[in-house]
Amino acid sequence: MALIELQDVRKTYRLGSTDVPALRGVSLAIGRGEFTALWGPSGSGKSSLLNLIGLVDRPSAGRVRIDGRDTGGLGDAARARLRNRAIGFVFQGFNLIAVLSALENVMLPLIIRGESHSRAHLLASQRLAEVGLADFARHRPDQLSGGQRQRVAIARALVTDPLLVVADEPTANLDARTGQQVIELMQALNRSHGVTFLFSTHDPRLATYMQRVIRLADGALHDAPDGIPLPQGVAA
């Protein structure tokens, strides 16, 4: 059974009196442990699709299944619980809480879940060490570099042992070298933990790291882009 299943998913935004379709009937399946990118230019629907898969938005039509569970009928509180338990997020702008230290940021999903402080501290410390930031646990986000912030965000995404990590343009705010390091880190964590990673990106270079690239154009799945080596199958 696929971890993520989308059936004819549509998303339409209303701008004034105009309906703007962002997704026009997307169907796809992503298996457990995949390292997958949603590739496409700006406005292609990558972020919309990622938001639906990350359960931070609802489709206008169609079904989104996570781990076999249809999320359409879930209420707000149940979706929040499912996000906390099963989905980790890595944002383009890192989205760390400015007033919390790196360690406290990583502890946050566990605290939200209701874990004890001592257990949250232990698990968060382990994750920070895994991303190479054990010595920066007490640093606030503004005392960290962009790459370090993104690594804190990765540790935070993984600290709950989620089924899926959703990363929206995770390297967009990083220089090429740091971006490459961050991707390699995520790739290593994908291999070591078996967690499914789903990225959105418009950077063709990152596609080389992916097991699979799903191309989006105008809100629909499309053929593989020219010039991008695709190690395995590209959804169309």
Partner: protein, 406 residues
């Protein structure tokens, strides 16, 4: 716990804005408590002034209907000498009763031989009345050894041109309707404190007034209780005792008989309520303003927390914690400010002249722990509730919109 950690750190992060809100809360807190401390002392002063200065005691007991019709038909409402003795016996047996003092009022003309003017007089037993007396409060003492000597109010004495040691003649109808006149020695001249009574009041020995009205009875009995006794509670105890003893009486407390106290209390209570509402609104608006700005600045943070699985109510809790912390810290600052101002007033020996007084009195402010506690609780509650409005708005921001917010 995470809510308070986030709240505290965000307050510190925006410390200049937080400080402005805290100062507003602290000033409001101090204003409420200083004014409450001032009026508490004023009420206490007025209470003692009414009970001891005016000689109202705690309770006044009269025959049923006296307070409505006693001035028209005084003879119908008198306690006889025997009844007075019995009343004194019954009341004196009650715990907490300090003094039982019969009273008799009279009115008529008072003359210096050339000039006559009206008077109203209160007759009281000098020995008993002197036990309802405090130094520096209201009237001077009567002299039990001089049954023909009384106190003359200041303006009346000036009109009649008499001083202590002078002589006057009082003229009144007896209860039977006969004209009666008696010589009066002026024991002392005293200031009643109010213009309405200062030109016509006499305080006389009870025996003098009884002689003037040709009676052995008295119209009322004033009861002095222990100083801090609750007059209403004492009335509730005494009323059935007196009924059981065969007396049909009305009992009024000193509050019911002191118009001045009631008027001043009404005015101060109104000012206090007004002040409280102003502080309430200031605190409410300050918190709403501070937290609305905080919500606007932290939209992405709210979106992130929601994306990480935080429930809406938990987001509300973060901002409610911020509000309650502002309320708590502001109130604690208010406690310090209240104590500081109280100390400065005490050290500065600040005095003022109240409207009803002719000489300055020290400005006295009590710090009331119960009032401090109530204000702290109310302001914390107001601050928390005020935070809920922007917090609710924060909790209902769509995650996608919040994450995309710049």
């Amino acid at each position: 716990m995470i809510a308070f950690k986030l709240a505290l750190r965000n307050l510190w992060k925006n410390r200049r804005r937080s400080l402005a809100t805290l100062i507003a809360i602290a000033l409001g807190f101090a204003a409420i408590n200083l004014f409450a401390g001032y009026i508490h002392n004023s009420y206490n002063g007025l209470r003692l002034g009414s009970i001891y200065g005016e000689g109202l005691g705690h309770l006044t007991i009269a025959r049923k209907g006296f307070f409505e019709q006693g001035s028209l038909k005084p003879e119908q409402f008198l306690f006889s000498e025997t009844e007075l003795a019995r009343l004194t016996q019954v009341l004196g047996a009650e715990a907490g009763v300090q003094v039982v003092s019969p009273r008799l009022s009279a009115s008529g003309l008072v003359s210096n031989g050339k000039l006559s003017t009206i008077f109203i007089a209160e007759g009281e037993d000098p020995a008993l009345a002197n036990r309802i007396w405090r130094r520096g409060m209201g009237r001077p003492k009567l002299d039990p050894a001089q049954p023909g000597a009384g106190l003359v109010s200041r303006v009346l004495a000036e009109r009649l041109g008499v001083k202590a040691g002078g002589n006057l003649v009082t003229l009144s109808n007896t209860l039977e309707g006969q004209i009666n006149a008696l010589d009066l020695d002026v024991l002392r001249v005293w200031d009643t404190g109010t213009a309405a009574t200062n030109d016509k009041s006499l305080r006389l020995p009870l025996s003098y007034v009884q002689k003037l009205l040709d009676t052995r009875g008295a119209s009322r009995v004033v009861v002095l209780l222990d100083e801090d006794a609750d007059a209403d509670a004492a009335r509730a105890v005494l009323a059935p005792r007196l009924a059981a003893a065969g007396f049909e009486v009305d009992i009024k407390t000193w509050v019911e008989l002191s118009n001045y106290y009631r008027q001043v209390k009404r005015l101060f209570d109104l000012i206090f309520a007004f002040l409280f509402v102003i502080v309430f609104v200031v605190v409410l608006m300050s918190i709403i303003n501070t937290l609305s700005m905080s919500v606007m600045e932290r939209v992405r943070e709210i979106g992130t927390l929601r994306a990480l699985g935080m429930q809406r109510w938990a987001v509300v809790r973060i901002f409610a914690a911020e509000g309650s912390l502002l309320g708590l810290l502001g109130s604690l600052g208010g406690v310090v400010l209240t104590l500081l101002v109280k100390l400065l007033i005490t050290l500065g020996h600040v005095s003022y002249t109240p409207p009803s007084s002719s000489s300055p009195v020290p400005l006295s402010i009590s710090v009331l722990p119960s009032m401090l506690g109530v204000t702290l609780l109310v302001l914390c509650l107001v601050a928390t509730l005020a935070a809920c409005w922007p917090a609710r708005r924060a909790a209902h921001i769509e995650i996608v919109d919040a994450l995309g917010h710049v």
